[in-house]
């Protein structure tokens, strides 16, 4: 049983309410920070903890905080990124829905550290009921004196509001989120300047994921060093993993980083193995945009080491034989799943979610989707596989924001590891007419019909 930091109190009845949350030690970090620490000391603890941004990129949170421009004298803002929309990821919603005060507490402590007096939680519009939960929680916290003017008699003021989006994956990108918060289209900004210098209304701004901010209270209540003891190497602490697909127990789990993928996947404490007798075919460890890996690279790395749930181990081998921890969206596929169809589905997602601002992403994502749709529907040509490879390589790295990369990587990984499945679709269109073509006849049974070269 590994240590729980975020979800340890989630099963206490009534923890959603201020009274119960407070009785169980809630808001202690606000008291400790405001009464006994300076803002810089709070930042220092977070730096020591080694906490990395939990939204996907894994950038050290304390370092991000230290970049905020305090010299300009402009008002500063903390914005919580609750625009969770990466396919396969639903952890932030779980946290906000069932223990909303943990996020509010984290927002207050973190805002204090940054010297922000006006902070926002940007939540995706589809989570409307969670928006209401947070609004009520904020009202409770304010009534209890943890928000508003002169918090706990310290002279520190903070207003916190929830802002809702309206259906746009791209607003999870921090500068698009800021644009959206300003009442505009969610077009990512050109960087530099970075938000730490010029963010919300051109003021210095830090944008952090829900899980990142919700971790701050524990770090302050204990210490950065205590947090750094949990986990493995540079992957400190715990991580929420959202598990979905063909597993026995899908849902949200808090794990200590460094847990083996095998244990996470197969022990009854976590996913409990596959949902049926159909064997494991592939998995995506960190949300739709990270590379998919075939069964043989899941539990062991290419070097034969145990694959662990950590930033380093999941990316071991680079994109050739590894993937990424990303946002912790753990998607599992059994042998009824069609990788081509899955890749098309993700390509459609990115096509739909491209903001349309820059050329490679606007034009390229649609092209990828169209070709994949043709292949999946028996209209593919041999040369389409090379074409897909070429297009994704032309999008990657050439766009304003990482959505271009996110659209390219799943396509590249699918071709890299499952090229024969693409060839099968091209050569045997009559066999893939039914959209559930691998249910009756999984690919392993027809694999001998094709065999292609491998691109790495």
């Amino acid at each position: 049983m590994s240590q729980k930091i975020l979800l340890d109190k989630i099963n206490i009845p009534g923890i959603k309410t201020y009274e119960v949350y407070r009785k169980n030690g809630g808001y202690a970090s606000v008291e400790k920070a405001i009464k006994t620490l300076t803002p810089d000391e709070v930042v220092e603890e977070v730096k020591k903890s080694g906490l990395r941004g939990r939204g996907g990129a894994g950038f050290p949170a304390g370092m991000k905080w230290s970049f905020i421009d305090k010299k300009s004298g402009k008002p500063r803002h903390l914005v919580c990124n609750a625009d969770e929309s990466e396919p396969g990821t639903f952890k932030d919603r779980y946290l906000m829905e069932f223990i909303p005060h943990l996020l509010i507490e984290g927002m207050i402590t973190s805002s204090f550290a940054l010297g922000a007096n006006l902070s926002y939680i940007y939540i995706r519009g589809e989570y409307m009921w969670v928006y209401k939960i947070l609004e009520r929680a904020i009202a409770e916290a304010k009534a209890a004196g943890f928000l508003g003017k002169n918090i706990l008699g310290s002279g520190y003021d903070l207003e916190l509001y929830v802002h809702c989006g309206a259906g746009a994956y791209i607003c999870g990108e921090e500068t698009a989120l800021i644009e959206s918060l300003e009442g505009k289209r969610g077009n990512p900004r050109i960087k530099p300047p970075f938000p730490a210098v010029s963010g919300l209304w051109a003021n210095p701004t830090v944008v952090n994921n829900v899980e990142t901010i919700a971790t701050v209270p524990w770090i302050i209540n204990n210490s950065g060093d205590d947090y750094a003891k949990i986990g493995i190497g540079r992957s400190t602490g715990t991580k929420l993993i959202s598990a979905s697909g063909h597993v026995k127990n899908p849902g949200v789990y808090e794990i200590e980083l460094g847990l083996s993928v095998d244990e996470f996947m197969n022990s009854d404490e976590y996913l409990g193995g596959m949902s049926s007798s159909r064997p494991l075919k592939a998995f995506v460890p960190g949300g739709s945009s990270v590379p998919i890996l075939p069964a043989e690279l899941i539990f062991k790395t290419a070097n034969g080491e145990d694959r662990l749930m950590s930033y380093e181990s999941l990316s071991d081998g680079g994109f050739a034989t590894g993937s990424m921890l990303g946002s912790g969206g753990f998607i599992v596929y059994n042998d009824t799943a069609c990788i081509v169809r899955n890749t098309w589905n993700f390509a459609r997602f990115y096509h739909h979610e491209s903001c349309g601002q820059c050329t490679p992403c606007r034009e390229g994502t649609g092209w990828l989707e169209k070709i994949l749709w043709r292949i999946e529907n028996g209209q593919g040509r041999e040369e389409d596989i090379e074409l897909l490879w070429s297009i994704q390589s032309k999008i990657e790295g050439n766009t304003i924001c990482p959505l271009g990369d996110a659209a390219s990587w799943p396509v590249a990984a699918a071709i890299r590891h499952f090229r024969d499945e693409f060839e099968y679709h091209v050569r045997f269109p009559e066999k893939i007419k039914n959209r559930e073509h691998f249910v009756a006849e999984p690919f392993s049974q027809v694999k001998h019909l094709v065999g292609g070269k491998v691109i790495v």
């Binding site: 994502t365 092209w367 050439n398």
Partner: protein
């Protein structure tokens, strides 16, 4: 600050972008730019045509930048070294962007009024592939009437957003903008509304392609049959310089535009009255012929460049069919004759 682009160094002021520095040096190393416009605030960064490789970040931090950078929005640092035309990676990226810009473009140059002075044509000439790899159906938009002066062809648009910036920065009531998103993002007024403002005509001049053209010049002439002259008049519109280029066919003024420099940017913006309402020679003081860059079609007035003889690769074996094609037609092995083996 010293910056070196393709081996050529120049001293620039802090705040200068790589593209601006390249334009100061001039010549082949200047990256193409489809969305950046020096006279419009906030322009640039979107089309990705001007990507360059920064092989040395600065004297203080000499690490190369891992990704290609949009030169129009990346500031120079002291000691920075940049590869533009000299880098294969850059050439490859520009080819990619050109391909992306063209896949959904209608390629209707023969009936497009912009042909001959179109940035996308120039870009394709330099970086385009004569053969398209795109076999899907092209995206199209419903036509929208945006008033008596300006013709909107959304299918040709590359979403540089310059016209939106013109409306924001030159006029006080913007009625058009970018609507929808992704590859269906489009320039529109939402509900067909006339864009009517004394400076709206500048949207035509800043448009790098044929998406916004002059309705009063529509289908009148190919631009290379016109002779451009610098001209001016005493314009009473506040904010208008009255300095234009008039495009003549014989003794007739067929079109009036701003004066464009070698990067196709107007020197100064002009009002709609000058542009649309003054087509009589008597309205203008003609200063003399306007010079254009040497490669411009307009300057040459005809295609005089020598073309090399093109040999079509399939000619030799056209009766036999190509090896690879034949294999696709039938799964059975067809015995090869000597001719095939040699080809």
């Amino acid at each position: 600050m010293k910056v070196t682009i393709d081996g050529q160094s120049i001293d620039v002021e802090p705040g200068t972008t790589i593209l601006q520095a390249a334009r100061m040096i001039g010549g082949d190393l200047v990256p193409p730019a489809m969305c950046y416009y020096s006279k419009l605030k906030g322009s640039g960064g979107k089309c990705r045509c001007c990507l360059v490789e920064v092989s040395k970040g600065s004297e203080a931090d000499p690490r190369p930048m891992p990704k290609l950078m949009a030169s129009c929005v990346t500031g120079c640092m002291d000691g920075m070294e940049v590869n533009s035309k000299s880098s294969d990676r850059v050439t490859e990226a520009r080819k990619s962007v050109t391909e992306f810009l063209l896949i959904n473009h209608p390629l209707d140059c023969p009936i497009c009024d912009q042909a001959g002075e179109c940035d996308l044509q120039n870009l394709s000439f330099e970086h385009g592939n004569p053969k398209s790899r795109f076999i899907e159906e092209k995206r199209t938009f419903e036509p929208e009437d945006i008033g008596p002066h300006i013709q909107l062809h959304m299918n040709r648009c590359i979403l540089c957003q310059r016209c939106v910036q013109v409306a924001d920065q030159l006029t006080d009531d913007r009625v058009h903008g970018v609507l929808d998103r992704g590859d269906h993002a489009n320039i529109s007024t939402y509900i067909s509304k006339a864009i009517d403002n004394e400076f709206s005509g500048n949207m035509i001049d800043v448009c790098p392609v044929g998406a916004l053209t002059d309705k009063t010049f529509r289908f009148k002439s190919r631009v290379w049959f016109n002779k451009p002259y610098n001209a001016h008049r005493e314009c009473t519109t506040p904010g208008c310089c009255g300095k234009t280029t008039v495009w003549m066919f014989g003794g007739e003024i067929q079109r009036v535009t701003g004066r464009k420099d070698e990067y196709h940017e107007v020197e100064e913006f002009i009002c709609n009255s000058c542009r649309f309402d003054h087509k009589n020679v008597a309205d203008w003081t003609i200063e003399g012929p306007r010079e254009f860059e040497k490669d411009s079609v307009i300057n040459q007035n005809n295609y005089t460049r020598k073309l090399e003889k093109v040999e079509i690769a399939t000619e030799k074996t056209i009766l036999m069919g190509r090896d690879e094609d034949r294999k696709k037609i039938s799964m059975a092995e067809i015995p090869l004759n000597n001719n095939d083996k040699n080809s």
